[in-house]
């Protein structure tokens, strides 16, 4: 038996059917996780950006106050 014949016999084996119910359930659950991940990453991005901007603003405020204190005193 050649490799091609053997491969053809393997390909010709009956397939275990992916039932419509299972396919729909997995697609629904995985799709929800995918969408949830997208939302989580979007929110995480906003939170991170806000935190960075706040930290910079805080630092600049402190730096201005520090320089003012130096200048006045």
């Amino acid at each position: 038996m050649t490799d091609e014949e053997l491969d053809a016999r393997i390909r010709a084996l009956p397939e275990a059917p992916l039932t419509a119910a299972l396919a729909a359930r997995v697609q629904s659950q995985a799709g929800a996780v995918f969408a949830g991940e997208a939302r989580v990453r979007w929110v995480a991005g906003i939170v991170t950006a806000t935190a960075v901007v706040s930290a910079v603003a805080l630092y600049l405020t402190w730096a201005v106050q520090f320089l003012n204190a130096l200048a006045s005193g």
């Binding site: 038996m1 009956p14 275990a16 992916l18 997995v26 659950q29 969408a35 997208a38």
Partner: protein, 186 residues
């Protein structure tokens, strides 16, 4: 909508969080991945669990895949690794194959009774012979022969070199061919 898109385009859309791209990948690879899992592990119930876990992992990681990732290879890799790491592997290898024979052909489309019986017998023999192969040989054979992956792609899925995959495939085919006549005698 996205079924015909090239893998790289689909991947870009996935990385951007496009739900339609996710559906397209699922429609494209869902059935093949399930077929691969059932043939590799030999138990439908287990295959269903691992199929779900494969897609949940894909859903969690799709947005962070590297730009050069091939979704098909990634899915087969995860599916294969899940089978490998499954705690019930010992049961899968032995009892699972026997269990497979009891349900597999019941759901096959039937032809004329005699032809169906002959075909089912041949199929069972091949399935049993496949089940007796070492897992390393079975997985490369299923990836290349049944799923149509190129040897290089199968090598990436298995985490081995293409040359090693070729050798493994050659050994698996030889082993399977050797098993089949013995099976025919029983």
């Amino acid at each position: 909508m996205g079924e015909d898109a090239a893998p790289s385009v689909l991947l870009e859309r996935l990385r951007a969080g496009d739900a339609a791209a996710f559906r397209a990948v699922y429609e494209q690879h869902g059935a093949p991945i399930f077929r691969f899992l059932t043939r590799l592990c030999g138990r439908r119930e287990l295959a269903e669990d691992l199929f779900q876990e494969t897609w949940m992992r894909f859903a969690r990681h799709a947005r962070t895949l590297r730009p050069d990732t091939e979704p098909r290879a990634w899915l087969y890799t995860v599916a294969r690794n899940l089978v490998r790491s499954h705690a019930r592997w010992a049961l899968v290898d032995a009892a699972g194959v026997a269990a497979l024979a009891s349900w597999w052909y019941l759901e096959a489309p039937s032809a004329a009774p005699h032809e169906a019986a002959v075909g089912a017998d041949a199929g069972r023999r091949l399935e049993r012979a496949l089940g007796r192969l070492p897992i390393a040989g079975r997985e490369v054979l299923l990836l290349v022969a049944a799923e149509g992956l190129a040897v290089d792609e199968a090598a990436r899925v298995l985490g081995i070199t293409p040359e090693a995959a070729r050798q493994r495939l050659h050994r698996a085919r030889a082993e399977l061919a050797r098993c089949l006549p013995k099976e025919d005698e029983t």
